[in-house]
């Protein structure tokens, strides 16, 4: 045989090389657990955690006078708030041959994806709890003709008014104005936890301040999009949507506005997040054919004062 030796004549023995730099996975911002008040329940103490809030007493503005007769006594009463923990978990079964043949360290990725699964489950549970329990108010001042309407500054004000009238405390302090071009002060604020599809509607709103225009952006959360009136919005791709739920059967976007200590994030002592790995000699003792890895947790989210959290419902004004 004569002639040039090309790759047709002499191909590489192996055509691919797997890059050991694995591709990034999509990781949503987990916004629904960020405002939860963490509390731990003791083991061997039942599965229901009871919390108690005493009711305020009436004021006593009438003078006692100069007599010796006692005024009427008030009764001290309390409200009990209960929550029952549940167990959650998922796992992988990894065949031994998978570990032996694949070029990348599969178990490393397994651990990483399991960790993400746990945190996303937590976030979903917090979101679901708020969907069911946070009292709804509809946006009605938007212009799209639906009910709820698209979000407007007035709707934001109404939601904040409701919370403040119930004495819900703001989450964030004021950001004072500074002498910087293009910036503005930001009011004391509740966080609004919503879906990323709302970003265009927020951008369109009169008075919206993007995070880039905050006078000081040293304490921003990654998911923060901007602020309107007394609400700073955290947006996530796993924000809450109720499908086809408006008057015109469009998707309804739930924006949760929790005040301080409005909901609990209860876990069980020593059981908040467990990574469980069973090596082949335990998972498959006869021939060590596979190993397992998983996570388990005991948890419940619970609204402790429904007057201190609001679900501001809206539809989109800017179509997707």
């Amino acid at each position: 045989m004569s002639g040039p030796t090309t790759t047709s004549i002499l191909p590489p023995a192996v055509q691919q090389q797997l890059s050991m730099k694995l591709l990034a996975r999509p990781m949503p911002d987990l916004i629904h657990t960020t405002m939860g008040y963490p509390i731990t329940m003791d083991q061997q103490a039942g599965d229901i955690l009871r919390r108690r809030r005493y009711q305020n007493l009436l004021t006593a503005p009438v003078p006692l006078g100069n007599g010796i007769v006692d005024p009427p006594a008030q009764q001290l009463t309390a409200l009990d708030i209960d929550a029952r923990i549940d167990w959650y978990g998922t796992y992988l079964i990894l065949q031994e041959q998978v570990m032996l043949i694949n070029e990348d360290p599969v178990l490393n990725s397994a651990v990483s994806t399991l960790g993400q699964s746990l945190r996303e489950t937590e976030d979903q549970l917090a979101r679901s709890m708020m969907e069911g329990g946070a009292p709804p108010i509809n946006c009605t001042s938007g212009t799209n003709g639906d009910n709820p309407s698209n979000i407007s500054p007035l709707d934001c004000s109404k939601a904040v008014r409701l919370l403040r009238t119930a004495n819900a405390q703001f989450i964030q302090d004021i950001i004072e104005g500074e002498n910087k071009f293009g910036t503005a002060p930001v009011r004391t604020a509740f966080f609004g936890l919503g879906h990323t599809n709302l970003s265009a509607d927020l951008d369109q709103m009169l008075g919206f301040i993007n995070v880039a225009n905050y006078a000081n952006n040293s304490n921003l959360l990654q998911a923060e999009w901007g602020s309107v009136r007394n609400i700073r919005f955290l947006l996530s791709s796993v924000g809450s949507i109720t499908p086809n739920a408006s008057a015109n059967l469009q998707d309804v976007y739930n924006i949760f506005l929790p005040g301080q200590e409005s909901y609990d994030m209860v876990d069980l002592d020593g059981y908040s997040a467990q990574f469980i790995y069973a090596p082949p000699e335990i998972a498959s003792p006869r021939l060590r054919l596979y190993q397992t890895a998983g996570w388990k947790m005991a948890q419940v989210f619970n609204i402790t004062n429904t007057s201190w959290i609001v679900n501001l419902r809206c539809t989109l004004g800017v179509a997707i």
Binding site: L79, D80, D82, S128, M129, E131, N138, P243, A247
Partner: protein
């Protein structure tokens, strides 16, 4: 790692789908109607019956949701019946997962009759059952009803159904409706208790509140109300200081079609009447009853607290909990594989046995 076989039994409620919660992966599900096969079981006398489904098989990986491979009795002769093999095309079996949103087909609403309860007429057979939760929308001349979820309290005919919505102030309208769930299975929100939209509130002592969607309440549960001003009865919302007022439930009737909560210590006789606002006030917020926590029944009129003197100890009705479930839903119809009226569970009360296989490995 091993294959799991789960087994169980139940007695169905006539004409009512049966949900069996199963945490394990469901690879195959088999079902036997013992009663209609002539077997006496679980207190139900066997009765070998012609033209009834007596066996059903479902493999979610190989078969469409809501179907089943069935065996149906032929004509009974003495103590035996021949078996006919076939497919249940509707109301067979389907996997169910509370965390996954499921929506039924959209049905056109042709009209409704305004009244203290509302009877809707659809343009085509709706297929709803009593206890289904449906969402109304696109109501052209009654937009105030749009987006509301209501429990179906009666099915008058294949094209009519009733809910507790008080539409006295509404104009009849065309629109759309679809099923979003059933009172017996948790919705996508997973958690109990949930806020509920108010259908009506009485002007009476004690005050009675009727809800649009059934929920399981308990005496001693504590609630508050959030009612937009256009609905009236602002006395329930907040006191002179603007703070929300809380109320303790003294009696409940959770039956579908009643769906009432009674407040013995509330005399609403002199309150401003509650009424669903008319279309002129559209859009507005929802009037809702919001679960708040557990109360103390010691001071409730007409309620004997137990155990004395600590009448708050056994009240856990509003303990927040995740009631989501996974499992299999067995459809109901006339107990045959009829393409229009069929369903595995029929109109009789029967004893059933089932077997679920959770495979460790599946080969295709």
């Amino acid at each position: 790692m091993s294959c799991q076989i789960l087994t169980g039994s139940f007695v169905n409620v006539a004409s009512t789908p049966k949900f069996i919660p199963i945490t394990a992966q469901i690879n195959e599900f088999r079902l036997w109607n013992l009663t209609r096969s002539g077997v006496t079981s679980q207190g139900i006398a066997g009765s070998l019956t012609s033209d009834r489904i007596v066996e059903a098989f479902f493999n979610p990986n190989l078969m469409g949701s809501g179907t089943a491979l069935i065996k149906q009795n032929g004509t009974v002769a003495g103590v035996l019946a021949p078996l006919n093999n076939g497919v249940a095309a509707i109301n067979g079996m389907s996997l169910f997962d509370s965390s996954i949103y499921a929506q039924g087909p959209t049905i056109a609403i042709a009209s409704f009759v305004p009244g203290t309860t509302t009877v809707f007429t659809t343009g085509a057979a709706h297929g709803f059952r009593v206890g289904d939760n449906v969402r109304i929308g696109n109501m052209t001349s009654a937009p105030e009803m749009g987006g509301l979820v209501m429990t179906v309290t009666a099915v008058g005919s294949p094209t009519t159904f009733t809910t507790l919505f008080d539409s006295t102030n509404s104009l009849t309208s065309v629109g759309s409706v679809f099923k979003v769930g059933n009172i017996n299975v948790q919705n996508q929100s997973l958690y109990y208790p949930q806020w509920r939209a108010i259908a009506s509130i009485s002007l009476a002592n004690p005050m009675v509140v009727t809800l649009l969607v059934q929920q399981n309440y308990q005496i001693g549960d504590k609630v508050r109300f959030q009612i937009p001003t256009v609905f009236g009865m602002q006395q329930l919302v907040s006191g002179p200081n603007g703070l929300p007022i809380e109320f303790t439930v003294s009696a409940v009737n959770n039956a579908v079609g009643t769906q009432t909560v009674t407040f013995a210590n509330v005399d609403s006789t002199a309150y401003t009447a509650f009424a669903w606002a008319a279309a002129a006030n559209y859009p507005y917020g929802l009037p809702v009853m919001v679960p708040q926590g557990e109360g103390n029944t010691n001071n409730l009129l007409g309620v004997v607290p137990t155990p004395l003197p600590y009448a708050n100890q056994n009240i856990l009705g509003f303990a927040t909990q995740n009631t989501g479930q996974r499992g299999i839903l067995i459809g109901a119809g006339d107990g045959t594989n009829s393409a229009t009226t069929g369903g595995i569970i029929g109109s009789t009360v029967d004893a059933w046995a089932w077997e679920c296989i959770s495979s460790s490995q599946t080969y295709y």
